[in-house]
Structures are given as structure tokens and as C-alpha cells.
């Protein structure tokens, strides 16, 4: 589908160079990738605006575009063919009409062939400037489960057909983005490649909840241990650990297991804490004898 550059810039077909420049700047200030980091939508929109500006702000290109629409780049070949046909007595090409019905005041183009990239530089708004530009940053999402995120692990990612080996440090956060330099889109005019931005999506764990470097877990504590005290085995990321329970522990009591939480990002050997919340469970299906014992307790 062809693009109407006048529509892209929101200007009239008779717009002056000044009006084109003004419209371009106004839209570019809104959609420029430097002002909208990591926004694919803005980047795409800016490409369109830039392309429209590149063509319309150059009188020669604009003239061709007005005549041949999205096939303006082939204007010379078309005119050459027309001349050859005319000198051979043929009448195949009827002005601009055969090339997509690009009518003067019309607002849509009919040619559906895409003759491709007419902008050599995505950021090259200033005409004649051949600056080197860094390639676009690419984005990828990597899904991990909580336990994977707790260990420093080497991974191989395939991005745009290329395999990238990277080490994910233990302790990454859900939603955190890391930047892998030079693995993004290729640079322009010899500029450096962009970066690869990897965002982590860490799935919820059925046992642990995480808040930064700390972990939280619930533990169902039987009534007898809660009343009399004892020892329980609590799940941690490293397996079960023995935890003493004080006599007369109340429902909702929270105990902290120091250093049994999540590893701290990029701080080897540093860990958060694990907070265990006790939910005291009242026994069910009591025998008559057990009920009597509770009644005795209640009276005592």
C-alpha cells in the first residue's frame, strides 16, 4: 500500500518548502526516537515522517513524486520508456495515468508495488548531512521462572537469526532490562550497530513471593506445634531448612530467615532474607476423646 506523503505531514499539495519544513519539525518533535526511547510505534511513525520530508523538501524529488506517486524513483526510466514508445510510434503510456492513477487532488495511490526504501537514513533529517548513526536498538523479552532468576546462568538467544551468548546474573528483577551493546540493528553510514535490550519476565512461583531481594513464604503450622513449640522444615530456594518454633506461637507470626532470600543482583554472595508467615491450622475430625480434652483445657 502506497503512502501519501502529503497526508503523512498533514499538508496541502500546494504547500511551500517552509510549510513542509514546519510540518515536519512539528511531527518530528512528537515522534523522534530520541524523545521516545524504546517506542516502536514512534520509531515507525518517525520513519514515515522522515521519508515524506526527504521527498517533499527536495523540489526535484517532489516534482517526480507529484507526477508518478510512489513510483517516483523510477521517473527517469518511465520517461525514457515513454520517449522510446513515442519515437517508435506507440502510445502505451498515457502520461502518469498508467502508473497508478495518481490524480492531482486525489488522496490515495493505487499502485501496490513497493519499490522500497527511499530513505537512506532514518535520522538524517538534515539534508546533505552524512553523519554516522548508531543502528536501532532491538528489543527482546526473556521469560524466566523465579528459580532460574536466582542463579547466574549462561543462555543462548536467537535474535534476528543470530545466536547471542550471554550470562544472566542472578537476581534480575521482573521487568528489568539489560543492554547488550552492539547486538542491535546495523549502523548507518558506517555508524556503530545498535544495542539489544533484553527485558526479563519472571513468572510467579507457586511457593515463594519475591520483593526485591527478599522472599516470602506461608507455612501451615499445626496447632500442637504452635502451642507447645517444636521444629519444622521450611522450604527455601536451596531446599528445606530446620526452623525452631517457639511455644505459644500466634497465628500470623512472621519469622525471618536471614540470608535465605534472593541473591542480590551483581553482588556475589549477598542474599536477602526469607520471611515465613505462620498460619496456625486448627485440627479437624477430632475424636470424642480429643474433644473432651479440649473441653478440659477450656475449663482450666
Amino acid at each position: 500500500m502506497a503512502t501519501d506523503y502529503y497526508k503523512v505531514l498533514g499538508i496541502d499539495r500546494k504547500a511551500t518548502i517552509e510549510e513542509i519544513k514546519k510540518a515536519y519539525r512539528k511531527l518530528a518533535r512528537k515522534h523522534h526516537p530520541d524523545l521516545n526511547p524504546n517506542d516502536k510505534g514512534a520509531e515507525q511513525k518517525f520513519k514515515e515522517i522522515n521519508e515524506a520530508n526527504e521527498v517533499l523538501s527536495d523540489p526535484e524529488s517532489r516534482k517526480k513524486y507529484d507526477k508518478y506517486g510512489d513510483q517516483w524513483k523510477h521517473a527517469d526510466q518511465i520517461e525514457q520508456a515513454q520517449r522510446e514508445q513515442a519515437s517508435a510510434g506507440g502510445g502505451g503510456f498515457g502520461g502518469g495515468q498508467s502508473f497508478g492513477g495518481f490524480g492531482g487532488g486525489g488522496s490515495h495511490f493505487e499502485g501496490d508495488q513497493d519499490f522500497g526504501d527511499i530513505f537512506g537514513s532514518m535520522f538524517g533529517g538534515a539534508r546533505g548531512r552524512q553523519a554516522r548513526f548508531k543502528g536501532t536498538d532491538l528489543q527482546a523479552e526473556l521469560q524466566l521462572d523465579l528459580r532460574d532468576a536466582a542463579i547466574t546462568t549462561p543462555r543462548t538467544l536467537t535474535v534476528n537469526g543470530k545466536q547471542i551468548r550471554l550470562t544472566i546474573p542472578a537476581g534480575v528483577e521482573n521487568g528489568q532490562t539489560i543492554r547488550i551493546k552492539g547486538h542491535g540493528g546495523p549502523g548507518m553510514n558506517g555508524g556503530p550497530a545498535g544495542d539489544l535490550l533484553i527485558s526479563f519476565s519472571i513468572a510467579a512461583d507457586p511457593i515463594f513471593k519475591r520483593e526485591g531481594k527478599d522472599l516470602y513464604v506461608n507455612f501451615d503450622l499445626d496447632l500442637y506445634t504452635a502451642v507447645l513449640g517444636g521444629e519444622i522444615m521450611v522450604d527455601t530456594l536451596d531446599g528445606k531448612v530446620k526452623v525452631p518454633v517457639k511455644a505459644e506461637t500466634q497465628n500470623g507470626t512472621v519469622v525471618r530467615l536471614k540470608g535465605k532470600g534472593f541473591p542480590v543482583y551483581k553482588k556475589d554472595g549477598s542474599f536477602g532474607d526469607l520471611f515465613v508467615t505462620y498460619t496456625v491450622k486448627v485440627p479437624t475430625n477430632l475424636t470424642a476423646q480429643q474433644k473432651e480434652l479440649f473441653q478440659q483445657l477450656a475449663k482450666s
Binding site: 530520541d34 533529517g125 548531512r129 528483577e173 521487568g175 555508524g191 556503530p192 520483593e211
Partner: protein, 104 residues
Amino acid sequence: MKTPDMDNDTLIPVELFCTTCHVETTLIDSLEESGLVQITVVQSRRFIAPEQMGQLEKMVRMHEDLGINVPGLEAIHHMLERMESLKDEMTQLRNRLRRFSDEG
């Protein structure tokens, strides 16, 4: 402005950058003055360190493409930094909230 002991091969002379990018050296001066880029001086010659290139190119692009002057670039730079920090804060809060929600 800093004057480290650096290998000149890795540094880009300011004049070369300006010629290649068709920008005035006064723009680089203003950007340096406002603290938006750092210029490295070695034996009285002014260079751009590779780690400054990304930031400098970004500023030049905004200046050239959008017609934003240096005070405007400063304001944008601070706003983008603030946006980045708010984004980080939002991620942290979202993760905190996650602990209290059903999804885990």
C-alpha cells in the same frame, strides 16, 4: 572537561566530528558548557571519547533534526533521565504489588 591519560587512537578529534557531521564547533562548545557532553583534552587538542559518542550524536540529531537549542536539549535530557528513573520506580512498585496479588 577532563584530561585523562588516554590512547589517542580511540579518541575522535572534535574537528573531524564536526566536519563529518556538518555541525559547528560552537555547538560542541555549548554542549560541553552545559554538561551534556564531555570533551577530552590531550596536549591542548580536543577529542571526543568513544563512550561520549552516543550521547553527542543524540544531541546533534535533536539539534539538527528538530531545531532544538541547547537549553532545550538540557531540559529534554533532564526529562528523559527523570522518565527513566520513574520507569524503574514503577517496575519496583509493580513487583512489590505482585506479592499481594493472586498471580504471585
